[in-house]
């Protein structure tokens, strides 16, 4: 058997087992919207951990971390910094969000804004920004998946059919099993990824240099400036590091899919304990860095840094092992993609379509529309991935900066009585309007600071100013007051359970 056939057998075997798990997980349950999107709010500690880890560690972490270590050097350390710190932020925010979620039976991030600020237009706007930010992220998973399968099959399978096949599978198990299917596939994905990262991260420095220590000794001899900031870049220094780490650690759980996943937990205590143990999972990240750093000496001059990990594995290991890495990599794209599709579809059907366009829709109709939207979003992401250009990384950066602008609305909404709907609305608009042009004109970083961070600071200032100068007349987050006030636009206010 040729190398490509062996590798392909392993890839398709792993993806096949993964899809079987995904279908089986939800096959014996009745899939109403509540079960589909938040798993009936019954996930315990282990399941929440798996789901969170499954969503967070995407192909961008898998390929991007080693790629940045290869092409940029020292600045890659920001990944090792935000991963523990975003859980410090989550420790204070997610349990509180969960409490609001249980009380009002929330299912999406936009639901939270709807109940807290009592305005369906703000909720629809948040949903719109969320969906617009998710699509490039989804596209990135697809492209990563195509890349992995192409390299792992020694170029026999072109990336386009690989992407189409994988996404048909994802859409199918999302439709049958919802979030429960995603969480179960994540079990296989996490085990494989853990095994792959630990093995590759230790073996590659050992094979080429005789150990991690000796590899660093060789790196220090050849190019010591690559190991500290700003590394191989000119503008990613310490101020960029601090502003980026602050932005990403406060903004990370503002991604609608991570935010929404917290509603599937059994209790707020589950989420708090999950935040305590999450940083341990990041222990695989330095191993990815080691592979990228080893590649700077072993395979210098790669055109695309993101291929550093796969190229190293292909150069070093037998075909069956490349197949295992390829399969793990494919699942690493499919699991987060599943949650993103699920979240975007629900946001569209529940928070944009029903309240704004068709107020008369029943809960069953919302569920049905969400499932149709799954197909639409999958096809849209596929088309844009097939015809994608090099601006993909910019699109993702825009996504990060975009969802980060939700942070003031969430944190002040939880902890401040004075913040108003108008303030939050103005803040998000300001943040997005500052961030998008800066990125499009390639002025990120600006004055040594991350552009998203600059936009977030302005956002906070606007929220504070508007809220203080135009205080709300009635206290918000009061379900009874909302239900009886009869103000225009509030008819949908107590969000129906949508079962």
């Amino acid at each position: 058997m040729s190398a490509s056939v062996i590798a392909l057998t392993f890839i398709s075997g792993i993806v096949g087992i993964g899809s079987f798990i995904g279908f089986y997980a939800g096959s014996r349950r009745k899939m109403d919207l509540e079960q589909w999107i938040v798993g009936d709010r019954g996930f315990g500690m282990l399941f929440v951990w798996l789901l969170t880890a499954g969503e967070i560690y995407t192909t961008f972490t898998f390929l991007g971390a080693s790629g940045w270590a290869y092409s940029k050097g020292g600045p890659v350390l920001y990944i090792l910094a935000y991963q523990p710190l975003m859980n410090v932020v989550a420790f204070f925010i997610l349990p509180q969000v969960w409490e609001v979620g249980r009380k009002h039976r929330l299912q999406t991030q936009a639901d939270f804004f709807h109940v807290r600020y009592n305005n369906k237009y703000l909720a629809a706007f948040v949903a719109l920004v969320g969906v617009v930010c998710i699509i490039p992220y989804l596209q990135l998973q697809l492209t990563g998946l195509g890349m992995i399968v192409e390299v792992a099959s020694y170029g026999v399978i072109h990336r386009t059919p690989a992407m189409i096949l994988a996404f048909v599978i994802v859409a199918a198990f999302v439709l049958t099993s919802g979030i429960r299917g995603v969480a179960w596939v994540s079990v296989l994905k996490d085990l494989l990824l853990l095994f792959a990262a630990i093995f590759v991260g230790i073996a590659i420095p050992y094979i080429y240099f005789g150990g991690i220590g000796r590899m660093f000794a060789a790196l220090v001899r050849s190019n010591p400036s690559h190991l500290v900031m700003p590394g191989a870049t000119s503008n990613l220094g310490h101020s960029w590091y601090i502003s980026t780490v602050v932005l990403v650690s406060v903004g990370f759980y503002m991604w609608p899919q991570f935010f929404g996943a917290s509603f599937s937990a059994k209790s707020s205590d589950t989420l708090r304990r999950n935040a305590v143990v999450m940083p341990f999972y990041s222990i695989t990240m330095p191993l990815m860095f080691f592979v990228g750093l080893a590649a700077t000496l072993v395979l210098p001059g790669l055109a695309n840094g993101d291929l550093a990990l796969l190229s190293m594995v292909r150069k070093t290991f037998p075909p069956w092992f490349l197949g295992v890495i390829g399969g793990a990599g494919a699942l690493t794209a499919m699991v987060p993609a599943g949650v993103m599709i699920l979240t975007a579809a629900t946001l569209f059907a529940k928070n944009m379509c029903r309240p704004i366009l068709f107020p008369g829709m029943s809960d069953q109709q919302v569920g049905k529309l969400a499932k149709i939207t799954v197909l639409v979003i999958t096809v849209a992401a596929l088309c844009s991935a097939i015809y994608s250009s090099t601006t993909l990384v910019y699109l993702l950066l825009m996504g990060y900066g975009g969802v980060g602008q939700f942070f003031p609305g969430v944190v002040l909404g939880l902890y401040s009585k004075r913040v108003t709907m108008a303030g939050v609305f103005a803040g998000i608009v300001t943040g997005v309007c500052i961030f998008v042009p800066l990125v499009l004109m390639k002025r990120d970083p600006i004055m040594g600071l991350n552009a998203g961070f600059v936009a977030l600071c302005c956002n906070f200032a606007v929220v504070a100013a508007v809220s203080l100068f135009r205080p709300a007349e009635q206290p918000l987050l009061n379900k009874d007051a909302v239900a009886t006030s009869g103000v225009e636009g509030l008819e949908a206010a107590p969000i129906p359970a949508a079962r």
Binding site: L77, R214, V228, V246, P279, P286
Partner: protein, 76 residues
Amino acid sequence: MRKPSLGAILFALIPFTAICFSVPLWDRIYPMVFAVPFNFFWLISWLLLTPACLWGAYCAESKRTSELQRHDAGKQ
């Protein structure tokens, strides 16, 4: 909404200071620890120390929750 306790916030500030704001102090190659550059060693060790700090915050929060519950029970 209940504000988090002061103890929990202090525990949370430790990793933020150590990992984020103090970067000029530790972003260097020497001294190498276990043959790893100092900046890599520092951040890897905080992957283990951050859960310890959060565990401290968790204990501070649960202690206060049980105190509040006792306080509420006393009022009724």
